[in-house]
């Protein structure tokens, strides 16, 4: 839609909330009627780059001593109750404490100890796992370059499942590289060739990547443009479109040249359009959609990256509540307002002194997690079409790129999941997926890390995918690349904070194991 008559300034100065209501039909079905149907599921994939302060993120020091009762959920997964950890320890970690996190704990799962293959061409080999993996990890003429790699991104799979014509956008993807028109250096220059870059017009190898917004203005534009020049909503037009298409079907059905079977088939298609219209009229928006006071940032107050991100995430929350999109993919790459940019951060991770790295990450992680917590609390406050918290029907996944400071270690990741995905996930768990430690020659190694793919697979299954539907899209078993097991590949035993090894991971590479979710998935 290009017919934007409302200026962005107008939108930002306070009418935004009113405009946000425009896209949706004013005469929606009564709420009591809407409540009969399950809330539409939503997925938010938030990714941060580089390592996190692992020791500060987990409820135990390096010796992994559990704080709470350990329950073995399956042969690869043990669980501790988040509530019990907090009750015994007083807090979870220094970065995850306070009222915001207390609110979220019933909706939270933390999965620790996954391992990632960063050596192949499919996107979830990278823990970033969003938008589009570059093709430049492969030779130009590699046959697999024919395969759009975004098909191995969790957000793409979620979009394929959750997006409907009711949504103005199948997914909204953001990597905030610009503020006040300025390029934040490395975020753009590296990540246009990495995840979140969006398609490249100049390099055909990257043409398959999915469109990604790089500043908030683009998101504002997408949201404000939902209204048309005369105030008619997109959905009102969709209603007219459905009417017209049904007329086209009827004109064929009326033809004498159509036989009974074909007539029935076309009438069934009209039924599908009727159902589409019913959904359009019934459950267009959540009850929180359009609340103007959610616009906490406006005009030029977006002076810091923190405010800038918070504002962008407010808009994302709106987009979910108003059913503008069912999927958000969000890059949270900045470290803080006065932290190093990503270029310096990269160098620091590789070659900086331990103390310097720890200082940076000790600051970056709480800064990033504060953005996540604020956004998740927004969803907790907002109500969906059934008048329940958006966090009940949403699944937020926040993950990061490398496990610990050092030479890009790829084992020992942790992932935070927030939201109940419509009740398909058990929540409130700290999940340990790192396997049994092996001590040899006075050196303790964790070598049975569950592949990170299992976390993503669990998320997709929780959203309603099946193994079959995932594999029909990706063409491979499980979800993404599992790589090969070799002690020389991704064996960061020497460089990581803890000892990690791939030696015991082969058992996860059978088809049955690749298709297996985490045991927190409720079987319906």
């Amino acid at each position: 839609m290009r017919s934007v008559k409302h200026s962005r300034r107008m939108f930002l100065c306070g009418t935004g909330g009113a405009l946000m209501t425009i896209p949706f039909l004013p005469s929606l079905a009564p709420r009591s009627a809407r409540a009969q149907e399950a809330s539409q599921l939503k997925y938010v994939l938030m990714s941060s780059n580089y390592c996190v302060d692992q020791d500060g993120a987990l409820p135990f020091p390096a010796n992994h001593k559990p704080y709470a009762t350990v329950t073995q959920l399956d042969d690869a997964t043990s669980a501790q109750s988040l509530d019990e950890i907090v009750a015994k320890r007083g807090f979870f970690t220094s970065s995850i404490q306070g009222q915001d996190w207390d609110n979220l704990r019933p909706y939270m799962n933390i999965a620790f100890g996954t391992a990632v293959n960063g050596t192949n061409d499919k996107h979830n080999s990278c823990a970033m796992t969003a938008a589009s993996m570059p093709h430049d990890v492969l030779a130009d003429d590699h046959p697999r370059n024919d395969n759009p790699v975004f098909k191995f991104s969790a957000d793409y799979l979620a979009e394929r499942l959750l997006a409907t014509p009711q949504h103005a956008y199948g997914a909204l993807r953001m990597n905030l590289a610009f503020r006040h028109g300025a390029d934040f250096g490395y975020v753009l220059s590296e990540y246009q060739n990495f995840a979140f870059g969006g398609p490249s017009a100049s390099d055909p190898r990257f043409a398959e990547r999915l469109p990604t917004m790089r500043d908030v203005a683009q998101l504002e534009q997408k949201l404000t443009s939902l209204g048309s020049s005369d105030g008619e909503s997109v959905l009102e037009r969709k209603s007219k479109l459905i009417d017209a298409v049904r007329d086209d079907y009827r004109s064929v059905i009326k033809s004498n040249a159509i036989g009974t079977d074909d007539r029935q088939r076309l009438e069934q298609a009209i039924e599908l359009w009727n159902e589409a219209e019913n959904r359009l009229l019934k459950g267009t928006a959540g009850s929180s959609c359009g609340a103007p006071d959610l616009m906490t940032a406006s005009g030029d107050v977006r002076a810091s990256w923190a405010v800038y991100h918070d504002y962008a995430l407010d808009l994302c929350a709106y987009a979910l509540a108003c059913r503008v999109t069912p999927v958000i993919s969000y890059a949270l790459l900045h470290t803080s307002d006065d932290g190093p940019d990503n270029g310096d951060e990269h160098l620091l991770m590789h070659s900086g002194a331990h103390d310097d790295r720890d200082k940076v990450m000790a600051k970056a992680m709480p800064w990033r997690l504060a953005r996540v917590a604020r956004f998740a609390n927004r969803l907790l406050e907002l109500k969906d079409e059934n008048d329940v918290s958006l966090l009940e029907s949403t699944l937020i996944s926040w993950g990061h790129e490398y496990a610990a400071p050092g030479a890009h270690p790829n084992a020992g990741h942790w992932t935070m999941m927030l939201g109940r995905a419509g009740g398909s996930l058990q929540t409130g768990n700290f999940l340990n997926l790192s396997g049994t430690p092996v001590t040899k020659n006075y050196y303790t190694t964790y070598h049975e890390c569950v592949p990170y793919n299992r976390v993503l697979l669990t998320q997709l299954l929780a959203l309603g995918h099946t193994n079959e539907s995932i594999e029909a899209i990706t063409g491979s078993v499980g979800f993404g690349e599992y790589g090969t097991v070799a002690n020389n590949t991704n064996d960061h035993r020497q460089g990581a904070s803890f000892g990690w090894s791939n030696a015991g991971r082969a058992r996860f590479y059978t088809d049955a194991e690749k298709r297996k979710p985490l045991p927190i998935l409720r079987v319906t």
Binding site: R2, G170, P211, S229, R237, V245, A257, T260, R265
Partner: protein, 626 residues
């Protein structure tokens, strides 16, 4: 032969239910019998399990006689099954009363009853997803390159090609996926001057009204592949107004047009009764059939602008020969062979590849490309007949590892392999496996299902379990795969099918798990240590085909297949099916007979493929019962 046809269950069912077809089918059967001889049905059971209740065999249009290798009896017959080279004015369809109706085709059928032609054609078939995407690309060109459109295409339903096991699902099951695409395309077309000019021939920035007119007058008829009536045009004008006119109106009207069944269904509404239960299609429908069947895409301007194109088979044939050489036509041909033979090779076992000093990654894709190159070269460069295509030693060793696999030097040009046949059926693309050992049972069953269109009943799981236990009791270091497979399938309930399956599988043992030629079967452990070695016995008493002859190795197998009427029939069915999204029924006997006959005459395969589309069936369909 006639007894064979009547014994055939689908045909017999049709004969019972369609009394009006009986005469035609009897004549067809007689004609085909005259063409290609007869076979004793007792020697050639209609189904693999010997006619067990419920089991069905594929259709067989014509069988081999004793002299089937020469084909001379066929070419000598005065009642040729070909619908191309002869004519019979007596078989002319009823006069077309429509003022804008195309000229009558020249009816040229002599070997089958003309009034049966086209009776099985589907009246309203939806476009397959590949057809839909091809059509959208043809009509919307650069507007399809927009990011929003590219990502929206993932919303379309994905579907597998039809096969003997999977029939085409003609239902419309997802209207909203197409809506996502339609709206993205509508937005892309009106996004700027460049796309509006490329698609509609107007400048959306400067003159929206002219774009409206271009859409209504020129674009909509192309999209719907037929003329547009006043009422329909007015409906779209009103819709544009209702949306608010301007760009928005056009954008949404474009979306509506894409969502209209007039676009995404093969509608053949403009047709004239011929008086014999059939309808004669108008020229636009005939052109659409020709183009979609040969290229998977809508008719191009050259076809649409030629008034003679759809008036006769010769007019159609001229365009068919052009279209099949177009990029889309070539791709359609490649797809035909890939789909028929289920070409989707995996990368090989890393251990085996290592033993052969080959890099396994991407080898599957490479041998698939080699298969494509072969088909393309033989058909488009050499003009090969089907027999030549099947029976050739030519390979394309364009990489080091392909050269190594085939035992030849690297070359961009085709070369002959020193060992064994390769042809169409024995290329690495068909034979490579991701496993460390070959499985003659799986190979044999797959091969027969694909190459011979044979269907097998699902085996009793208990028998399978027992067979596996037998195989596992025989050490792989002491017994060859052939012996183990023989033992596993020797049970009384297995032999019926496995006599056929194993015969092919054992001969194909001459090719290793990489698809390489071999004289011995080598057995390795997981680390690649050689444990045992067995000489290959690639003989079989016979293939269970209509001509029973001992098979002495893969080369002999290939030659028997090259002259087999069963293979010819199977290819005819597939070339028919992939163009129409359905396998033939008894009412398609004439069309299939045309293809079979063209192959027997060893016409170039491209001519055969053109014939499978350009025959009198293309002008007709059955009247619908109202």
């Amino acid at each position: 032969m006639l007894k064979g046809i009547i014994n055939h269950r689908p045909l017999a069912r049709a004969l019972r239910s369609k009394g009006r077809c009986v005469t035609a089918l009897v004549l067809v059967a007689a004609a085909l019998s005259a063409c290609v001889g007869s076979v004793n049905p007792d020697e050639y059971p209609a189904s693999l399990d010997g006619g067990a209740p419920g089991a069905e065999s594929p259709l067989t249009y014509g069988d081999s006689g004793a002299d089937h290798n020469s084909g001379t009896d066929v070419s000598a017959t005065p009642t040729s099954a070909s619908g191309v080279n002869s004519s019979s004015p007596d078989e002319a369809p009823a006069a077309n009363s429509s003022a804008d109706a195309p000229k009558e085709p020249s009816p040229e059928v002599t070997s089958c009853v003309a009034s049966s032609r086209g009776l099985s054609e589907i009246n309203v078939r939806r476009l397959t997803t590949p057809e839909l995407v091809s059509a959208l690309r043809a009509f919307f060109g650069p507007a399809m390159d927009a990011d929003s459109v590219r990502s929206s295409l993932g919303s379309l339903r994905s579907e597998s090609p039809i096969s003997l096991e999977v029939t085409f699902d003609n239902r419309i099951v997802d209207v909203e996926g197409l809506e996502v695409v339609a709206r993205a395309i509508g937005g892309s077309v009106v996004a700027n001057e460049a796309t509006s000019r490329a698609v509609l021939g107007c400048d959306i920035e400067e003159d929206v009204d002219s774009c409206h007119q271009a859409f209504l007058k020129n674009f909509l008829p192309r999209l719907f592949r037929r003329p547009i009536g006043d009422e329909e045009r007015e409906s779209y004008e009103s819709f544009i107004e209702d949306i608010g006119g301007g760009r928005d109106g056009l954008e949404w009207a474009l979306a509506r047009a894409i969502l209209s069944p007039h676009f995404h269904q093969h509608l053949e509404l403009l047709a004239t009764p011929t008086g014999d239960g059939r309808l004669r299609l108008d020229s636009s429908a005939v052109a659409a059939r020709l183009a979609f069947r040969l290229t998977g895409a809508p008719p191009d301007d050259e076809l649409l602008s030629d008034p003679e194109a759809t008036a006769s088979l010769s007019g159609l044939r001229k365009h068919a020969e052009r279209l099949i050489h177009s990029p889309a036509g070539r791709e359609q041909v490649r797809q035909l062979f890939r789909t028929w033979l289920a070409i989707d090779p995996p990368d090989p076992s890393a251990m085996l590849a290592g033993k052969a000093e080959l890099t396994p990654d991407g080898l599957g894709a490479e041998v698939a490309e080699e298969f494509d190159r072969y088909v393309e070269y033989m058909l488009f460069e050499k003009g090969a007949s089907f027999r030549e295509l099947v029976d050739s030693q030519m390979v394309f060793p364009f990489s080091e590892r392909l050269a190594q696999l085939y035992g030849v030097e690297v070359s961009e040009e085709p070369v002959d392999v020193p060992n064994g046949p390769r042809g169409l059926f024995m290329r690495a693309a068909s034979l490579i496996t991701g496993q460390a050992e070959t499985n003659p049972i799986v190979r044999g069953a797959t091969f027969r299902r694909r190459v011979l269109c044979e269907m097998f009943p699902t085996p009793d799981p208990l028998l399978v379990q027992a067979g596996q236990a037998v195989a596992e009791s025989l050490s792989r270091t002491e017994y060859s795969q052939r012996i183990r497979a023989s033992a596993a399938t020797a049970g009384a309930g297995c032999a019926g099918c496995h006599e056929r399956i194993n015969s092919v599988g054992f001969v194909l043992e001459q090719f290793g798990p990489l698809g390489e030629w071999r004289e011995t079967q080598r057995v390795f452990d997981e680390k690649g240590e050689l444990l045992a070695e067995f000489p290959i016995d690639a003989t079989a008493p016979h293939l269970g085909l209509s001509v029973r002859a001992q098979v002495d190795g893969a080369a002999d197998l290939n030659q028997q297949l090259a002259s087999s009427s069963e293979v010819n029939n199977c290819f005819a069915q597939w070339s028919f099916a992939l163009a129409r999204q359905r396998f033939p029924t008894p009412a398609d006997t004439c069309a299939i007979g045309d293809v079979v006959q063209a192959n027997v005459e060893e016409l170039p395969v491209l001519d055969v493929l053109v014939t499978s589309v350009v025959n009198d069936d293309i002008f007709y369909r059955a009247e619908n019962s109202q």
